[in-house]
Point group: C2
Chain length 162, copies 2
């Protein structure tokens, strides 16, 4: 989920979802910065296994994240979409990396976004977009990116044609 | 330019170009890892200003790069495309960052690739792809990504419609 910064304040825009329900119930959220494409796909399209989390002040963060930030949340609820302001209360950097651009990795992210829409709306156009991203993954990605695409196709119930 | 790793060996595939001519003449190349979208666009579509380089063993690298590696090169010349094997001889990490995924930044990269093809082939389809990337940049990118897109439109001689 993308965090927007405007004049030094942090916001997310979020559709009605379990995530929003959780935020409204707890008024807390964590942002985990991760660089594993398989984990990204899993968190976008299914549930991340409980043993991948550890608890900080009773709040779950991902153990293998590059870093995380826990926020206090203020919500402006909308009919379909709500705006949540995020105020950082605690954060940790686990690892700093030098990471060259990887078009394959980036294509997994774009495909995952199309996949969440495909799951909701079942429109063929999203499959076409996922297939396009997959051609980039197969050309530019490493083993982990290819594994992420395989998992994505499984999670959206689509038999990959290759 | 993407570097591929196969069984621990590093390769680039490269079309006939000034870059290939330079590599064949010197049998050396440098990979600069950069995270500034404006600099990426500039290096893809025009020349980076000389004062942005410093010299390491007589070889230019980008001062503001996150890091760089200088390679000895072995070329297998092809008619249109050549394969260059890269053997690292010296490298430096200047900065390690924790960098969350930014779809806007990633979209600048994809757009720059379409732009290099548009400049060569002048096919409208590439403009359409650049425009699609630009919608992501305008939605998800920061000021630097938007500036990079503006520069890209200038460098390809296309009047952006917004």
């Amino acid at each position: 989920m993308g965090i927007h910064r405007e004049n030094g304040r942090l916001f997310i825009r979020i559709f009605n979802s379990n995530t929003l329900t959780n935020i409204l119930a707890n008024l807390k959220a964590a942002a985990n910065m991760v660089d594993d494409p398989v984990l990204l796909v899993k968190s976008a399209l299914s549930d991340v296994e409980p043993d991948r989390f550890k608890f900080i002040d009773g709040f779950p963060v991902i153990k293998k994240a590059l870093g995380w930030v826990i926020f206090d949340c203020t919500c402006r609820k909308g009919e379909n979409i709500s705006v949540v302001e995020l105020s950082p209360v605690r954060g940790k950097i686990n690892r700093r990396l030098i990471k060259p651009v990887n078009r394959g990795f980036n294509a997994v992210i774009e495909a995952a976004i199309h996949a969440t829409r495909y799951v909701g709306l079942k429109e063929e156009e999203y499959l076409r977009q996922i297939e396009y991203c997959n051609t980039i993954v197969q050309k530019c990605g490493g083993a982990r990116e290819k594994e992420a695409m395989k998992l994505m196709y499984e999670l959206i119930g689509y038999k990959e044609i290759q």
